[in-house]
Amino acid sequence: MKFLGLLTVLITGFLLIQAERDFPDWGDVNSPASSYKLSQHYITQTFAETSVPNMVTAVLADYRGYDTMFETVVIFTAGIAIIGILRVFGSNIKPDHPEVVLTKKKPDLIVETTCRLLIPIIQLFALYVVAHGHHSPGGGFQGGVIFGASFILLALARDLQYAQQWVPENRILNLAGIGIFIYAGFGVASLLLGGNFLDYGVLTAIIPGDVKDAHSHSMLGVEIGVAFTVTAIMFSIYSSLSSNGHMKEGI
């Protein structure tokens, strides 16, 4: 059986290496991906159409906005699924593995002081990443993950209950829902104003400025929605995993 497995791996690897030779070189201007008309349009017209310098964000949040919306829904669904599998209700739960003993830790002075200094900076940086995502690398996903990580750091440094003072369980789920609601709200708003779903151009009626500004500002709004969902789900996954599902004592 082991021999068969090795043989399969070797044959698959050989085929993959053979197929790799047909790939265009890295950064080849004549490769199909670079010479295709659509990518030429993105590269040359993104700034003229949306006034967003970072074309990765423009493609993610505007040209392929539908895709990103359902990516956010996928993250939401993943969080809900983890809660559905792990969450345990009730007060006197027997531990599944009695040999796993996690000692209650005392708050450590060095760890606590470092976290008190670091967490505000991390959260400020996360907000910057979200708000500046269409001018520099970053955006809702990255900013949301960093913001969620700051709460995870708080829960690691103190304990889970301490972090849950700011993000209790019901607030997490509300935040995750609100994020998708904001994203879909931009889509529905453009539907109501006579455009297609997520066609930000028609939002000039509510957003001040011309069509380009409407695109740019809607992208910011959409990124904020993504950041809400990702922050909430990241912390929810951590608190489910680290507390065996009863959301009381973390690691």
């Binding site: 796993v100 951590y238 680290s242 690691i251």
Partner: protein, 75 residues
């Protein structure tokens, strides 16, 4: 090139190492090297995501899961 060699090394080690905790840590190192590679290729957005998700949060998820499970199965 050196990063690529280390990438393959860390991938191999994280598969072979017996201790799950060190496997999770080495997997984090793998993500960090991957992030450096993305940044070197000019895909800064992808590198950013890899650094935040791969090297940061997913390592924490793996470690918290490992700390909550036992070595032997209870069945």
């Amino acid at each position: 090139m050196i990063i690529l060699i280390f990438l393959i090394l860390t991938a191999f080690i994280s598969l072979r190492v017996k201790d799950l905790l060190s496997a999770a840590m080495i997997f984090g190192v793998y993500s960090l090297l991957m992030c450096l590679l993305w940044a070197g290729m000019g895909a800064v957005d992808v590198a950013f995501t890899e650094a935040a998700v791969g090297a940061g949060v997913s390592a924490v998820f793996l470690i918290s899961t490992i700390l909550r499970t036992s070595r032997r199965s209870s069945d």
